[in-house]
Symmetry: C2
Subunit: 230 residues, 2 copies
């Protein structure tokens, strides 16, 4: 889409020139001229940039650059699954196992299915530059994700869902809480038991509103930090 292309170009311009927060950008009519597109296209571009937290608009005053997030923080609002946000960091994902099991009660509740239904469970450890980032425990409904394997889980599962299975990912619910590490989690995070840990639970829905993925991510407290804008 044209407006997305222009949004990408503006982001690259802000990054390349390292424009600080509050830098005034060209007005709507100047952008219309600069890119040779309709006013409507530019308004769509600005909506995208605003929702990404790249700019803010002040009525009667103009369009301005928003602060860059601190380096190394994981964006909490992206709907791209695990590797989407962190690709620039070279995330290494190690598969512990992929298995087909009857849905545990908690999973059935979150995916609105019966406990008799089989789900794929994927356990992986993600690390960045040799540091353990998190232990991931994901459950996928087989009615929507009929096939998963170790080799698929070694790459980006979300890319497989979108490009391989043609699933449109719609929205997600995320729950955060802080706990102490125990047993398996402490083992995979390479932390002593009772260390702090962040639990991020996510429920992903198709654009039709059907939940298909329930994920529990246990984050290493020293190797993970999160960012969000509103």
């Amino acid at each position: 889409m044209k407006y997305q292309e222009i949004a990408q170009q503006i982001i690259q311009h802000i990054q390349a020139d390292n424009l600080p927060q509050g830098t005034k950008l060209p007005s709507v009519s100047e952008l219309v001229k600069e890119y040779g597109v309709s006013k409507n296209t530019i308004l769509q571009t600005l909506k995208v940039l605003e929702s990404k937290g790249v700019i803010y608009q002040v009525q009667g005053s103009g369009i301005f650059v928003r602060r860059k997030k601190r380096k190394g923080y994981i964006t909490l609002l992206e709907n791209q699954g695990f590797s989407g946000d962190l690709t620039y960091f070279d995330v290494i994902s190690k598969v512990i196992n992929v298995s087909l099991i009857p849905a545990p009660e908690e999973v059935a509740n979150n995916l609105y299915c019966s406990q008799a239904e089989e789900v794929y469970r994927v356990k992986r450890v993600h690390s960045i530059r040799g540091q353990t980032l998190c232990l991931e425990e994901s459950y996928y409904k087989t009615s929507i994700v009929p096939f998963l394997s170790d080799s698929i889980a070694e790459g980006s599962i979300f890319q497989y869902l979108e490009k391989g299975l043609n699933i449109n990912i719609g929205f997600s619910d995320k729950y955060l809480s802080v706990h102490k590490t125990k047993g398996e989690i402490a083992y995979y995070l390479e932390l002593p038991e009772n260390s702090p840990m962040l639990l991020l639970e996510e429920i992903y829905y198709t654009s039709n509103g059907e939940p298909f993925d329930f994920t529990k991510n246990y984050y290493h407290y020293e190797h993970s930090q999160f960012f969000l804008q509103s």
Copy 2:
């Protein structure tokens, strides 16, 4: 605004009837008839409801109710300051102190001011039903917030900013990380040292894009859980 009123009515209807996720709501043209307003007003209403995570729309299929968040979770995306989100819980805020100090380096960096500039520092402990929720350490730029006091800090500071000082709160950046409790923080959270804790740092901006509030909230890991949608 009419569209906000209608949004509020739809939310109340969903809550009163306890409509589950996936319940189909009336179509746009039915809502136009039901509320006797323009199609444009209804489209604005739906935009608000969608951004609040109350509904989702499926092209060619309709408008549906989205899952309610789990009870007792704090919404991470509201820009209403501390008490806005949790009013229904009866949050008690105890002021430790309010003082006027030269901006510490970290504060100056986050509020884009010099270290010579004076800022208000507010320390409070928030609790719910007798349980300590968090220790809050907030810094306010005096160029935007020229006056603060203990008695103001006993209530909602954001209400004072919006209604008393006429400040339009625009947007915010939020940073989350997990640490171990130490010294003063452990003391106020009534936790042993080295307990898990969530640190939520927030920078609030006016709608003109000027940062005016830098807040560090230290959350008790057993008494706080967070929710967000995307």
